[in-house]
């Protein structure tokens, strides 16, 4: 499957040389410093990433009042947790939407690849691919089935298409049989896919 995005070595080598030449020229011309790009990449290893989203979701699971505040005013509730950079690039205006017994949410960007960087990091390739962007709004239930998630007909599916300021993310349902887990253990169960709405959070293995 992943071959759709894998190109031949020559093509990759040509792109690699071109981007290196571009970066080198921009450094020489004073547009970039030689430490600028690395600073960007480091940010997504340490500050912005799905580890933040997972901790927010776990907090919402263990604290119903926190969850209510998170849905009511997402930036304010995230600020309570005192993570770094939570209103940073692509997180200036975030909004959480919650799955429930009656509703399943899915986030998408049909025009490009908008994504809530501070809480989820950078999006995977399939999210940016025209196939997901085309099908996600037309047949979200079929797309979810391919990902192994069957949504019953009487459960509403809500698809959130980013085309202006808001970057959405999903609070998945807390899995059954997770009563014995603490907040940190719960956070470890939460995947980026679950916070995009293409996966559920599975129950932990029985103790």
């Amino acid at each position: 499957m992943s071959s759709l995005f894998e190109y031949d070595k020559d093509r990759e080598a040509a792109s690699a040389a071109k981007v290196r030449a571009l970066e080198a020229l921009l450094i020489k011309k004073g547009v970039l410093g030689s430490d600028s790009v690395d600073a960007v990449l480091r940010h997504f290893e340490t500050v912005a990433g799905p580890f933040n989203g997972a901790r927010i979701v776990a907090r919402a699971w263990v604290d119903a009042e926190y969850k209510a505040r998170l849905l009511e005013d997402t930036p304010k509730a995230i600020a309570e947790l005192q993570f770094q950079g939570m209103t940073g690039a692509e997180g200036e205006h975030m909004k959480a939407v919650a799955n429930s017994v009656t509703v399943h949410n899915l986030i998408i960007c049909t025009l490009c690849s908008c994504y809530p960087w501070p809480v989820l990091g950078l999006p995977p390739y399939w999210y940016k691919d025209p196939v997901f962007r085309s099908r996600g709004v037309r047949e979200p239930r079929a797309v979810l089935r391919e990902f192994g998630v069957t949504i019953p007909e009487d459960k509403e599916v809500k698809v959130w298409d980013s085309s202006a300021q808001i970057r959405w993310f999903v609070i998945p349902e807390r899995p059954a049989h997770s009563e014995h887990l603490n907040e940190e253990q719960l956070a470890a169960l939460v995947t980026p896919e679950a916070m995009m709405g293409v996966a559920l959070v599975p129950s932990p293995p029985p103790v």
Binding site: F5, A16, V19, L32, G33, V40, F132, D161
Partner: protein, 250 residues
């Protein structure tokens, strides 16, 4: 309108490539992502966005506006069939390189010559010229972002619960209005506080200066027709005010 504005809803595309969870398919893609993000962090519009960055104190020769719009224009204005020939970050690399050539930062010849050099010597190093003040601005930008939020305008044209129709403005190179919503009927579910500046004009498409943004819901059956839509499905989109028309205007 271009095909890339109408991606939503195309049929018979086959499975989503869900198993490719990588963010970058090749190491080189990280570099173009990084270059783009640094450009956003030193864009001249940042003295007008929130927070207001002290950009004049940052030593850089970059003197242009670079926002997501700049990047999107590159991909959306491609010949539509060409759009599908390139992987996501290949399109970034094409658009950004062309921008630096068009704006005179580098020449096509320089880039070509140096590309040949790195093709022959892939491990040849980059110039060593750190820029700690710019690095600080990059980190600051990543932590504090870049919001177009403005004070609300005097008149808010729609209220929660209003039925609205989506406009179908001319859009050649860039739009924030997905094709599949054009001429469809929806319901306002939220009026976002304040107005939003997009920083870049989209010309006849209509975005220019701050305006209100609404969350609008659409029944899937109203978009794709009752026979060709999945049951019990609602699509929400954030739409700029200029993209909406009151129901009585139809």
């Amino acid at each position: 309108m271009r095909l890339q504005h109408y991606l939503g809803g195309l049929e018979n595309l086959g499975p989503v490539n869900f198993f490719e969870k990588k963010v970058f398919m090749a190491e080189w893609e990280k570099r173009i992502f990084g270059i783009h993000t640094v450009m956003m962090a030193e864009s001249v519009h940042l003295d007008k966005s929130l927070p207001k960055y002290p950009l004049s104190e940052v030593p850089t020769t970059f003197k242009d506006t670079w926002t997501w719009a700049s990047l999107r224009i590159g991909a959306e204005s491609m010949q539509p069939f060409e759009y599908f020939k390139y992987r996501y970050y290949e399109k970034w690399l094409m658009g950004i390189s062309q921008f630096f050539i068009d704006r005179g930062y580098v020449t096509a010849k320089e880039l070509e010559t140096l590309t040949e050099h790195y093709r022959a010597h892939p491990d040849s190093p980059l110039p060593e010229q750190p820029n700690p003040v710019l690095k600080e601005q990059v980190v600051r930008y990543l932590h504090h972002g870049d919001s177009g939020l403005r004070a609300p305008m005097d008149e808010v044209r729609f209220a929660v619960g209003d039925t609205v129709y989506v406009a179908d403005p001319e859009a050649a190179d860039h739009t924030r209005l997905p094709g599949f919503l054009r001429n469809k009927k929806g319901t306002v579910t939220e009026v976002y506080p304040g107005a939003f500046e997009y920083f870049v004009s989209t010309g006849p498409d209509g975005l220019d200066g701050p305006q209100h943004v609404y969350c609008v819901s659409f029944l899937a059956s109203d978009i794709w027709g009752p026979d060709k839509s999945e049951p019990n499905t609602v699509i929400y989109a954030d739409l700029f005010e200029d993209y909406l028309k009151p129901v009585h205007s139809m």
